[in-house]
Symmetry: C2
Amino acid sequence: MTATPPPALSLERMRLDAVLEGLARGDTAALARAISLVENQRDGFERVLSEIHKRIGKSGTQRIGITGPPGAGKSTLTEQLVRAYRERGRKVAVIAVDPTSPFTGGALLGDRIRMEAVSLDPGVFIRSMATRGAQGGLATTTEEVADVLDAFGFDRILIETVGVGQTELDIAATAETTVLVLVPESGDGIQTLKAGVMEVAELYVINKSDRPGADKLKQEVEVMLGIRRGNAFAHITPHHQPRAATGGKGRQRAETADVWEPPVLTTVASKGEGIPELVDALNRHHSFLETSGKLAERRKRRLATRTRAVVNRAIRQWVWDETQAEDLLAKRLDDVAAGTRTPYEVAAEVLDQVRNGE
Amino acid sequence: MTATPPPALSLERMRLDAVLEGLARGDTAALARAISLVENQRDGFERVLSEIHKRIGKSGTQRIGITGPPGAGKSTLTEQLVRAYRERGRKVAVIAVDPTSPFTGGALLGDRIRMEAVSLDPGVFIRSMATRGAQGGLATTTEEVADVLDAFGFDRILIETVGVGQTELDIAATAETTVLVLVPESGDGIQTLKAGVMEVAELYVINKSDRPGADKLKQEVEVMLGIRRGNAFAHITPHHQPRAATGGKGRQRAETADVWEPPVLTTVASKGEGIPELVDALNRHHSFLETSGKLAERRKRRLATRTRAVVNRAIRQWVWDETQAEDLLAKRLDDVAAGTRTPYEVAAEVLDQVRNGE
């Protein structure tokens, strides 16, 4: 993506070939190097992603997003899931993303250490990621790292994010199945469950369910899931929603080949309680996606979103690295600070320059 | 930003002139219309922002970001701050941003209703915002809406966001002073306070401080603030950090003209307890920024970040609205889904087309 090739290009290319060869051989060191390339968008990362593109999306592979407020025990739950999948003979990768650590660079370090117990197993691969200035593009980068792991042959790819903000939800939603982990202590119960958060998850886990308030929270979540569905119907056919099938508490499971009813599970991750049930529910969701045809549909939609994001990134890199935009911006910033020019005038000027191919 | 002017352009222009005139006159209806223009990036919004640019950043104006986990009582605290500022004769605007509500469109509706008590006062202006697809640009849009309110003459602009994710922090950080609101129940105490979140705030509030655990949380926050500062020093001069001034618990306030020591305050917002102290601390931080010269510095840095974001937005709008990029992307998506082309090949093709001015 640079205008004049740097002197080390041929060396770069040799290194890239070695990484690609290593990936094909199943070499874990090459995997780590490929992920670093992609994460830091170093020269040639698009080539790596293009090369592996045909090997992603095998039917046996499942990407699982795990999100929830800090302190909900997501790392412990993730570790338990890793163990459970290993016992079932699955190769498991974990991407732990902490978008709120732009300063430390050491995302989820504590969690990484805690997970060392499982990380000596060659069937397990764990990677932490922080933003490192990946402005607005962390969901895309996470998805690309997951692609590399997918092509490498991991059967389950767990994407763990901290927090329930927009960025975190976007990242978790790159997975096919998203799990929202809550604990009795998380905020004021019902208040933590805002519409956007509820919409994103296909599975709800009340972790630390041996603590007081777990039953109440489970009920609240179930009622809210009912309310949400009720509202959706009200929008289409007011006063005529099929209450018996979709109403609040006490409703029957209305799962069919086309409709997924998000289950609310309870776990005590630290003791391994509820993990087999969670694995079953995750498998059930994957089967549902496959048999309903929604998996192909979802992957197609994700690829469209991704392609658009990749185009935007390529255009941004071109504008700032290969045109005179950066120089012009630097020249104008003093005027902007002094109030003699506005950001909008500068943007129009930069755009004009870019359009005229300067 | 469109290639051929739409037929209604002159009408648009008349409407825009009316909005600008109304703004200059101090007409609240024009203010609401100007904000809608900016929020939805309708034709002419850059002109509105350019026109008001010279009137923003008056020394008496303070932008305050208020963030924290759901259920921390931010809305109640915001309402109390509005009342307190009104009692002191300040005009106050509130922007309530909920990035996790892309589906409902009705961001913080409940909170808005709760705040109706104060919203009949003409010295108060309250606005809710949701994402509405402002992909990655919500911080910029929020800052632009704050500009309109600033130019209109509000003395205090409160920017309330829900959650402590990256997007929410980015939005809160567009303010000059950021307040992080916590409650004894928020997660597992110390775990909620990740490095990125701690770095962003200049004031910490333990709300609902009449509940059990408030003292413990306050202590934890203070210790962590000490640890953070200790680490920062350790990085520069290992083993020689000035412990007496910057060490953990029991340290003396080391506030000077150049260093801001973030205070940890306690409130019971529902009863108005601790609000005068919070207002004092907010005023103190504003004075600190002004006298230390950091206010001008910070505003300059924000304007640089903003100008870059505005350029990126203008380029993106140009690429998708005025070039053939959208058509080419639509043509290629089936190939991408089928695996015969990769997103990276498509991006290279689109970029080539854009560079060649097609």
